[in-house]
């Protein structure tokens, strides 16, 4: 049963709570696709994005509007009270008085937890610096459950595993399902030891390699992430690494038939557009699933369930 007041970090979710979100999301999917709903009529969601966001902000907005609710936006920080030096605590107290729930993205780690201490209404963390982004993890889990399976899953997390907050939260959540996880990254972007220790502490099998070719035949899910150019002081080294982690239809020739490829997007070069037309590509569905998953969270937090 889901009894949370705020959604701040995946670490605060039990497997049962995750399952209850995913089940509700499945029942709300028709509404995400356009079926009429008045579930949130008269309710207002406030979006406080102190950093740019496209998918997360728009999918929250879509989720609320498709359920019949309204949305208010902070707008560009330059024109608001933030530029006058107002604290986040005050902003949250004020806007919490206008809305039934707050969604916040902020460049500082821990900002969503701070917001939850001052907000009179539920707070959803939509990314706090290098910290957490739990709704991304929930939509990733929903995608895996819908398009592959969560039980006995073999998954490869690929790319920047050092700085990518998405893969840290996802690996943690998958450990609750006993997944078999392979970490594929260049040596300088390996997953931090503290997170690996956490996973093995939960009895999760974790393997590491820098060779994507080694794992492609065996996994059910390939979770790609972007390798950022600025992580490499040497541009030649960057090009070499970026090439070796690029997915093409040819590279997928020996993959399992039902392999699915996911990516939190935006992608740059790591998945060739030619892969989009293969049966393996799921990243656009994944992006869409953000809507029913966020619908589920909004209805649970604002109304205590559907």
């Amino acid at each position: 049963m889901f009894m949370k007041r705020h959604v701040l970090s995946m670490r605060e979710f039990s497997r049962e709570e995750i399952d209850s979100v995913l089940d509700l999301a499945a029942s709300l999917e028709p509404y995400a696709r356009g079926k009429k709903s008045d579930m949130m009529t008269g309710r207002v969601l406030a979006l406080l994005f102190f950093e740019p966001s496209t998918r997360t902000r728009m999918s929250f907005e879509t989720a609320m509007k498709r359920l019949g609710g309204g949305v208010i936006n902070l707008g560009p920080a330059e024109g608001s009270s933030i530029s006058k030096g107002e604290s986040l605590a005050d902003t949250v107290r004020v806007i919490g008085g206008y809305a039934d729930a707050l969604v916040i993205r902020h460049p500082k780690e821990g900002s969503a937890r701070l917001a939850s201490q001052f907000s009179p209404v539920p707070v959803i963390n939509a990314g706090d610096g290098a910290g957490h982004h739990p709704t991304q993890t929930l939509l990733d889990l929903y995608t895996i459950k819908k398009e592959s399976r969560l039980e006995n899953l073999s998954i490869a997390l690929v790319g920047d595993l050092k700085y990518g907050r998405t893969v840290h939260s996802l690996a943690y959540a998958l450990s609750l399902y006993g997944a078999d996880i392979t970490l594929v990254s260049p040596p300088n972007l390996k997953m931090p030891d503290s997170i690996k220790a956490d996973l093995s502490g939960k009895g999760t099998a974790v393997r590491e390699t820098n060779d994507l070719g080694e794992v492609i035949n065996n996994v059910d899910v390939l979770y790609m992430t972007r390798i950022q150019r600025e992580r490499f002081p040497d541009p030649v080294e960057y090009k070499k690494v970026a090439r070796s982690y690029r997915i093409t239809p040819e590279f997928l020739a020996s993959a399992k038939k039902d392999l699915i490829i996911m990516h939190p997007l935006p992608r740059v070069d790591e998945i060739s557009p030619a892969v989009d037309d293969t049966a393996h590509a799921r990243y656009f569905q994944q992006s869409f699933y953000g809507v029913p998953v966020r619908m589920a969270l909004l209805s649970m937090l604002i109304q205590g369930g559907a």
Binding site: L88, E109, G110, S111, L114, D128, G129, A130, G131, S194
Partner: protein, 168 residues
């Protein structure tokens, strides 16, 4: 200069070795078995600065059977509260507290870290919201006591080494 005092025992004025560095106190708190060199940080944790009215004695780097070298802090006419002294365990986990009243030790205990430390240690993550001008105090959850492992309530960054450098 060992201060292994027992309850109801008078501080050993006559038994103190000659050349005693700090006289025993009549009333107040003696913090003993502080790791050598940490006495000034203990004062910092207790919020005792040069502005204090209390009579404070600090002895540093005394020979100790248990610790090799130890520091001792005596605060006269002030009985420190349990929550005040427990924070000392952050940097001096072996410290012992003696409350002295009328020249007798009326209470003696070891320090024990609470589950959460508020407003004493700042987070080492420069990008943590607790290191900004927001109207909050730092909050550190105590995950392990020996060795000490703290975790910032806000950004979840762990802090285990060089804790003294992050005292507020």
């Amino acid at each position: 200069m060992s201060e292994d005092l027992k309850l109801d025992e008078k501080p050993k004025r006559d038994d103190e070795p000659k050349g005693q560095k700090v006289r025993p106190i009549n009333n107040g708190t003696v913090i003993d078995h502080i790791a050598g060199g940490q006495a000034l940080n203990v004062l910092k944790i207790l919020g005792i600065s040069g502005a204090t009215d209390a009579m404070v004695s600090v002895v540093m780097n005394v020979d100790s059977r248990k610790l090799g070298r130890k520091d001792i802090v005596k605060v006269e006419d002030r009985e420190l509260l349990e929550e005040e002294v427990n924070r000392i365990a952050l940097i001096a986990p072996d410290a012992s507290i003696n409350i002295i009243r009328n020249c007798k030790v009326i209470e003696k205990r070891k320090v024990d870290l609470p589950d959460e430390i508020v407003g004493v240690v700042r987070c080492q993550n420069p990008n943590c919201i607790s290191n900004t001008l927001e109207p909050i105090k730092s909050r550190m959850l105590v995950k392990a006591k020996n060795p000490v492992l703290l975790r910032c309530l806000y950004c979840e960054q762990p802090l285990t080494e060089r804790i003294a450098e992050y005292l507020i």
